[in-house]
Amino acid sequence: MKPPPFSYYAPTSVQEAVALLGSLENARVLAGGQSLLPMLNMRFATPDHVIDINRIPALTGIAVRDGEVVIGAMTRQRDLEFSPVIREHLPIMHEALQFVGHRQTRNRGTIGGSLCHLDPAAELPCVAAAHDAVVDVVSENGAREIPFAEFPLGYLTPSLEPGEMVRAIRFPLWPTRTGAAFVEFARRHGDFAIVSVAALVAMDADGAVERASLTLGGVGSGPMRMHDVEDALIGKTLDAIAIKAAAESCGAIEVDDDPYTPVHYRKHLCRTLVVRALETAALRAQGSRS
């Protein structure tokens, strides 16, 4: 229950960090440490080198520019939770953060860390998937952008090349007539979700769905965007019939089995939570329309 031996580096610039990352074998980046430290303590992770990026000020911050919210990878979950910019422009992230761990872990945990750890039931990857976020990564060889749809490669595995680290995440804004909702069910407050649902719905002036985004968390190896269900909602009014049809489609997907949660129960949660998410998003879209 103590970390294995490793060498420790605390670079103060991104340049310095990627130089270390590019030259050291079996190195891990230490962000907020709320997933990596447990994995070190339990010796699930045994890096030879730990590169602590907590002392790089350039990796922290929240800004709105060119129709996007740009968030530095090391921005703490607590700072996102209390940010008026996030509350105004990414209300779904504000709502999702209420479910992320506890105050003690949000004080340290970062958005970049959550996305890179990529727990299948984690909330922030769901929000990134729902918003078609773009991940800005950097290495010694330069920077590149990864659309979030291509970011998860598999269970706990982001599509980062060796030597790459996340620098920032960009969230494209939705139109003003958008309602957003994040709902989840977990056995205890702060636990990872059994199922979570992120919904974004933009309405036209007549109240018909112009654009929709529906993401399920906890059901597969990463967040699952329901593109077919989204397409089927376009042009419709979000009444009980449309919402029920969307929920039934989501309940029909194949979900992973695990020793604690039978498949039928997880599917039931998918249907129930999709209804709640879409109903709430629809109400909020109507509210922002008037």
Binding site: M1, S7, L37, R103, N107
Partner: protein, 168 residues
């Protein structure tokens, strides 16, 4: 400053006292507090960030000291359970309320409960019962004494607001 790859010298202020120590880089902050500084009031329960017993305040923010390396606290100010009581040794209103409300049995979770609630009371002088419950949702008490803890936190908030005297 000593900058070898497996030990580092850090300067950290704990409960108002500055310490300069050389620590192995893999040493957890919880072990640094307990074994190097001999501040054994910070309890270690699960050592993987689930139980909340080892919670301390780092620069005023609650954090699980088992999920931080000691070297990461270089330059930080830390408050542990030993630093909560008043300078003259009398109990802080939160500790006083815990005593009055029987908010502890075995006492193992108490340091983490108190540090976690210190942050809440600093951020929000008028918490609701729900606020308190959500705040301590990351702290496990296996004596299941939560009801007393919630009452104590609400009492302490009232005392700190000046609406209630400690003895009432």
């Amino acid at each position: 400053m000593n900058e070898t790859l497996d030990t580092r010298t850090i300067i950290v202020k704990v409960n108002g006292v500055e310490h300069r120590r050389t620590a192995p880089v893999r040493m957890l902050l919880s072990d640094f507090l307990r074994h190097e500084l001999r501040l054994t009031g910070t309890h270690v329960g699960c050592e993987h960030g689930v139980c909340g017993a080892c919670t301390v305040l780092v620069d005023g923010r609650s954090a699980r000291s088992c999920l931080m390396l000691a070297v990461q606290s270089d330059g930080c100010e830390i408050l542990t359970i030993e630093g909560i009581a008043n300078a003259d040794g009398t109990l802080h209103p939160l500790q006083e309320a815990f005593q009055r409300r029987h908010a502890l049995q075995c006492g193992f979770c108490t340091p983490g409960m108190l540090t976690t609630l210190m942050e809440l009371l600093a951020d929000n002088p008028s918490p609701t019962e729900e606020d308190v419950k959500i705040t301590i949702s990351g702290n496990l008490c296996r004596c299941t004494g939560y009801a007393g803890i919630v009452k104590a936190a609400l009492d302490a908030a009232a005392v700190l607001r000046g609406e209630k005297t400690p003895a009432a």
